[in-house]
């Protein structure tokens, strides 16, 4: 049995040690577990489960938190100094 597993974290393939839990993953990534949401294989994990859920080969992990945003998708925002007079 290999010591590492291959998982997807936020869309990136990562090799991780076999016995790691979600809490371990967050610690290794230097992410404080407060105010993040974790989804494993499309299932949202309760914060209390972070230390219990161990990662398996092929797991798709999403780690999300709050960023600046108003009404629009921040990824589509334009430079604020770039004034477009379309009217």
């Amino acid at each position: 049995m290999q010591d590492t597993i291959r998982i997807q974290v936020n869309g990136e393939a990562r090799d991780w040690r076999r016995d790691a839990t979600v809490a371990d993953l967050l610690r290794d990534l230097e992410i404080t577990s407060e105010r993040v949401a974790v989804e494993v294989n499309l299932e949202i994990l309760d914060r209390a489960m972070f230390a219990q859920r161990s990662l398996k080969d092929g797991d798709r992990v999403e780690i999300l938190s709050f960023i600046g945003g108003g009404g629009e998708s921040p990824r589509r925002s334009t430079d604020r100094r770039k004034c477009v007079h379309s009217l």
Binding site: G11, I31, E39, I63, G68, G71, E72, P74
Partner: protein
């Protein structure tokens, strides 16, 4: 204005100006603008944590959730499934059941997909969310949202980030008269007079982001918006005079030579 509190789903809010946290130059500017605006509700988006560069700071290090009500949105969601998924993630990441629900219809206008909005709201309300829906200036849709359990509605003034001001004041007025919950005008404000006008029409609050963050001086605009919302609210409560086509003299004729 101290006794003029806004209450939504049993929660009391001091400020009738709500602000977004996107598009600022940096977190220091975000923090300062919000502080100056006097807003106590701030919207945030839910996104993937940057796992490769952990040196990046967190917004909530600058916006204290103990001081502000953090209102997560589902910005960028174009389907019911996505909006529901992001709402659940926001609740898992945060501390409350509040969500500003957006189901967008198209990238060019960012207008809400109101059919999808109602569908997503139904699912989330059943799950115990307090859903504040970003909707169109359509009184019928607003009524439906209230009927299914939304404790407030958030109609747009104009497309998000457009700065066009209130495009359809009459629809907004009808909307406000059609529902018995707070109406928060959301999106489209360009400058202070737009915000004042929304409040004069009877809006219970105004939510904006780009109008402040995109101004040449965001901090100064944040202050302008604070006073605009106050002025508009006070004028609404004071009751404006009716419009007349011809003059009515303010000074008496009596006593003239």
């Amino acid at each position: 204005m101290r006794d003029d509190r806004l209450i939504i789903a049993g929660r009391e809010f001091k400020s009738r100006l709500w602000v977004g946290t996107g598009k600022y130059k940096n977190f220091v500017e975000t923090q300062k603008a919000i502080e100056v605006s006097g807003a106590d509700v701030v919207t945030v988006a839910v996104r993937r944590v940057n796992i490769t560069d952990r040196s990046k700071e967190n917004l909530l290090d600058y916006i204290d959730p103990k001081k502000y009500t953090i209102l997560p949105n589902t910005a960028g969601c174009y389907t019911v499934e996505d909006a529901v998924r992001y709402s659940r993630l926001a609740r898992a990441a945060g501390v409350s059941d509040l969500v500003k629900l957006e189901v967008l219809g198209d990238e060019k206008t960012l207008f809400p997909d109101t059919a999808g909005l109602i569908e997503a709201a139904k699912i989330l309300i059943k799950e115990g969310f307090i859903v504040l829906p970003y909707t169109n200036d359509d009184p019928i849709v607003a009524k439906k949202l209230v009927d299914i359990g939304c404790p407030a509605v958030m109609p747009l003034a104009a497309p998000i980030g457009s700065g066009l001001g209130i495009r359809n004041p009459y629809n907004l007025k009808i909307l406000m008269e059609s529902v018995n919950v707070p109406v928060i005008v959301d999106a489209g404000v360009g400058t202070a007079s737009d915000a004042a006008l929304a409040m004069e029409y009877g809006a219970d609050a105004v939510l904006m982001n780009t109008a402040i963050a995109g101004a040449q001086d965001p901090i100064a605009m944040a202050e302008a918006m604070k006073y605009a919302v106050w002025a508009g609210r006070l004028a609404y409560k004071a009751g404006r005079i009716p419009r007349k086509l011809y003059a009515t003299a303010s000074s008496p004729i009596e006593g003239m030579l």
